[in-house]
């Protein structure tokens, strides 16, 4: 299935959960924030989200800035 992550198409296996995807990308959930279909996900409660065809994910982190 196709999911858009940070503006790019990604091919993912059906039934991939959001936490599994995050983990597969080597990301530390404590230092990222996720917008799922244009809704900001709270710190907790998104463990159960299963990604669907055409989902849109924005995964962000803090970087150096002034």
């Amino acid at each position: 299935m196709h999911v858009t992550v940070n503006g790019r198409f990604q091919e993912l296996t059906e039934g991939t959960s959001l936490p599994a995807y995050i983990k597969s990308q080597g990301l530390d959930p404590s230092v990222i924030v996720v917008e799922y279909n244009f809704q900001i996900l709270p710190e907790q409660g998104w463990e159960k989200i299963i990604l669907q065809e055409n989902d849109n994910l924005e995964i962000l982190r803090f970087v150096g800035g002034g």
């Binding site: 230092v31 924030v33 800035g65």
Partner: protein, 260 residues
Amino acid sequence: MSDKLKISNQEFSTRLLIGTGKYACDELIPDILASSGAEIITVALRRVDFEATVDNVMYHIPEGIQLLPNTSGARNAQEAVRIARLARAMGCGNWIKIEVISDNKYLLPDGYETIKATETLAGEGFVVLPYISPDLMVARKLVEAGAAAVMPLGAPIGSNRGLKTRELLKIIIEEIPLPVIVDAGLGRPSHACEAMELGASACLVNTGIASAAHPVNMARAFAQAVAAGRQAFLAGPGASQGTARASSPLTGFLYEENAN
């Protein structure tokens, strides 16, 4: 004497805020924090780069430091609000530095969009510190909109040119009943010192420190300059004048004839 910087309901002992951009490596940040004594630090929010290493700026910012995420990258109020909400969802507090910029040459902020974003975010309980041109009317509207401080620029971001806006900054400092944090363009400790002598509440320095040959030492120099400028402001500098006023007595010279 206690001379705390008060922003919203928080108090700080140092009046130098620092940024985290442009360092050769983020491992320097704890040392910069230590040498500057800064208690407030800015960060930016960006998309995760899947090709980059796993390092994260947050691993280098110790507990107890007030995080001030900025909305850099926002070109209008709507984008700034979105970035602010995402930053808050990161779980590091509700402070936000509004930065709305659509001019890529001088990176000058958009006052109108900044006011709109401030109104929305202050209404949502954010502690809002907007980055502005030193425009009195914009600053006044930000006070009404619920800003916690205003951050007028000294010179364009990253230019290291100093207080090019001096006369306008003086007006903001005089008229705005909020902390005035001079942000952007402060390239040398003397620039920051002068801002503080003018009565600014604090200074935010990023490039001035990050672009120095020895950033840790430069951070210390900025902290000392900010503290010195603050003390000078509180001490009340004497008046200046165009002609000389002798510091030594003008009578009793050795060659003067004895009066008797």
